[in-house]
């Protein structure tokens, strides 16, 4: 296992390094004038000179890269032009919302996708199977920004006066602002301390915050606001997971050891649960890891539709205002997260299935 882990980490590190190089080189390879791209087309020669000096653009590219690399390793992603604050600060302010959204979408996708796939394989070629595959086909073809809009129209306008009504935008209803849990508990935190920063960061996880501080009305409201974005974001991963579970389980159900289990007299549900599913789910685990990419990309679209102040909307706004440091820093952060999560998924895969380690 250790040899496998080292080998897998050994392939992830160059990719991670390559990601940094790519994000660093992207604006430089493409050319154009970074100064006017950042400061606007009407920037004067003097301000461009100052801009180049301030950002080290007058130095050789290799030198620039070393500086960039060093800054990143120290957690310095530059400064946002629009907010005039460190990119890292904006990132950590926005991260909790996106994390909550992505995690709940992933959980929903797994919780529905796997049972759907199992049912489709169990009753192969039945109406259940046909319906699952129809859902999967439509699901992977869905522009989720449009699905999100349709959902909010359906639940906020068409069903707006029924008990099924759900809020279409925002994280909480207007006028409802949950207190940070540490304030509820009467803790005073200093602005600059690391512990204070950590508590503030944790308190931005809305569900976690309202739950542990027993702000029930806010918790309910927060959960209601999370439903539609979660459903929209989970659709594609759910379709992919259902499809993968189905084909993988069908594959395993055709194998000899499954027939042996059935021949011993085990009933179909038991054969699936005890024998087939364990093997069938292994490729599904890999697919789930890869779905994180769809979730992170989809978060940009989903948050925009539902006016949620997460990483995605920050990126969207940054595109609009041409806030380059945010685009660069966020891209790097999202890509590194993706690489690291897929590494972890592969490691767990190798842990669960010894055959993988030997390949």
């Amino acid at each position: 296992m250790i040899a496998y882990a080292l080998k897998r980490i050994g392939t992830a590190l160059p990719v991670l390094f390559g990601v940094v190089v790519a994000v660093f080189l992207l604006p430089r390879v493409v050319g154009g004038d970074p100064c006017r791209a950042v400061l606007g087309p009407r920037a004067t020669a003097v301000s461009c000179q100052q801009f180049a000096e301030a950002n080290g653009l007058d130095q050789p590219v290799f030198q620039q890269f070393l500086t960039y690399m060093g800054n990143i390793l120290r957690g310095d992603f530059g400064e946002s032009i629009k907010f005039s604050r460190p990119v890292m600060e904006v990132l950590f302010e926005r991260l909790p919302l996106t994390t909550e959204l992505a995690l709940s979408a992933l959980l929903l996708a797994i919780a529905i996708g796997i049972p759907l796939g199992v049912a489709a394989a169990r009753w192969h070629n039945s109406p259940v199977d046909v319906a699952t595959m129809a859902f999967a086909n439509v699901g992977v073809s869905m522009p989720i920004f449009w699905l999100g809009l349709m959902l909010s129209y359906l639940f906020a306008v068409v069903l707006g006066d029924t008990w099924l009504a759900l809020p279409p935008t925002g994280r909480f209803s207007a006028g409802l602002a949950p207190q940070p849990f540490y304030e509820v508990w009467g803790w005073t935190i200093t602005d600059t301390s690391f512990g204070g920063g950590l508590l503030r960061f944790l308190s931005r996880f809305a569900i976690f915050n309202t739950l542990i501080s027993a702000q029930w009305a806010e918790l309910k409201d927060g959960l209601q606001h999370l439903v539609l974005p979660t459903v929209a974001l989970s659709t594609i991963p759910m379709a992919v997971i259902a499809r993968m579970t189905r084909s993988s389980l069908l594959d395993v159900l055709g194998q000899d050891y499954v027939r042996t289990a059935a021949a011993k007299g085990a009933r179909q549900p038991r054969v699936i649960r005890r024998h087939a599913l364990r093997n069938a789910l292994l490729p599904v685990v890999t697919i789930i890891g890869l779905q994180l990419g769809a979730l992170l990309g989809g978060a940009v679209l989903t948050e925009t539709i539902f006016s949620l102040a997460g990483i995605g909307t920050a990126l969207f706004d940054a595109i609009d205002t041409r806030d380059f440091p945010i685009v660069q820093g966020f891209t790097l952060f999202i890509a590194s997260t993706y690489v690291v999560v897929n590494l972890l998924v592969d490691l767990s895969y190798g842990y669960l299935d010894p055959r993988v380690r030997l390949q």
């Binding site: 154009g32 439509v138 869905m142 084909s247 993706y338 690489v339």
Partner: protein, 316 residues
């Protein structure tokens, strides 16, 4: 089967002798019947045929847009003299899908949108296949450090969530439809490179390839006559599915304001312009999105059907 070894050998022997008598004409017929068989398999599957119908219909719509579109997609109809229409008019018999915020006929815009999205999706995939397959072929054929470097570069691209990398590239290149083409083509390169490399690697080991190499066939000839025909099936299947993904990503980029710019009739950008009005004017949001979904669905179904038909080994 091993228990019936002798019998099996006899059958094999007969088959071999029959094979030996076949003329090259019959072999040619064999090759075409592979495609005929694939066609038969394809048309037996309803979903694949449905995909083909959707895609062909869209292609016809795109080709005949100037004829079938009832109005000019750019013209603001409330400025036409003597017109009695207003901005955001709901669907009516005059304007089947209503008018948008600039009083343009939405049906015409959606029809013209096909003229943009379809060729865009196809060109993205063609560019990605041309570059990706070349990279894969070079990596697989020459091997060694070149292989390592090229495929590591592909890994780096795959290290990004596709849409996020496409956003970054399109952002740096600037808002324009051709930059969407580049951005989406780049993020989808690796899959074609991998398929091509795998085909090259598997075919390099086969005796008849070693034989033609020994006979002095040039790398280009090897690629054309030996490797490409073998890689064609997976490239066709991946490419068709790739068009679906490319159209979806291109629409997402346009929705984010990175692609087609107004007043170009592009589905994603139409949504971006009107989506805040969904509560009051839902028709402005429903139809452009529906157009995207149906198009993507069509290519996905067609791709799945082709995969089932061309590569029976993948059948469940």
């Amino acid at each position: 089967m091993s228990g019936f070894g002798t019998g099996g050998d006899q059958v094999d022997g007969q088959v071999t002798s029959v094979r030996a008598e076949e003329t090259s004409d019959e072999l040619m017929e064999d090759a075409t019947s592979v495609w005929r068989l694939a066609m038969q398999r394809f048309f037996r599957r309803k979903l694949g045929v449905l995909g083909l119908v959707i895609v062909s219909t869209l292609a016809i719509i795109a080709l005949t847009a100037p004829i079938i579109a009832p109005y000019d997609p750019i013209q603001q109809l409330d400025r036409v003299e003597g017109s009695d229409v207003a901005r955001r008019d709901a669907p009516s018999s005059e304007h089947l899908l209503g008018l948008d915020s600039n009083a343009r006929d939405q049906l015409s815009r959606i029809i013209y949108g096909a003229r943009l999205s379809l060729p865009l999706g196809v060109s993205i995939v063609l560019v990605a296949i041309m570059i990706g397959a070349s990279i894969g072929a070079i990596a697989g054929y020459f091997g060694g450090w070149l292989d390592t470097i090229l495929m590591r570069m592909m890994d780096v691209i795959l290290g990004f969530p596709a849409l996020v990398l496409a956003i970054a590239i399109a952002y740096v290149l600037g808002n324009a439809i051709q930059n969407v083409l580049i951005a989406v083509a780049v993020v989808t390169l690796p899959q074609y490179a991998r398929v091509m490399r795998a085909s090259v690697l598997s075919i390099k080991e086969v005796d008849f390839v070693a034989a033609s190499e020994a006979l002095g066939a040039s790398p280009w000839r090897m690629l054309r006559t030996r490797i490409l025909p073998n890689a064609l099936t997976p490239l066709i299947v991946l490419g068709t599915l790739g068009i679906a993904g490319a159209i979806l990503e291109a629409a997402a980029l346009s929705f984010l304001g990175l692609g087609a710019q107004p007043p170009t009739p592009e589905w994603g950008s139409m949504l971006a312009q009107e989506y805040t009005l969904i509560r009051t004017y839902p028709h402005l949001v429903i139809y452009p999105g529906l157009a995207i979904m149906v198009t993507v669905l069509g290519f996905n179904l067609l791709g799945d059907g082709l995969r089932d038909a061309l590569d029976p080994s993948l059948n469940e």
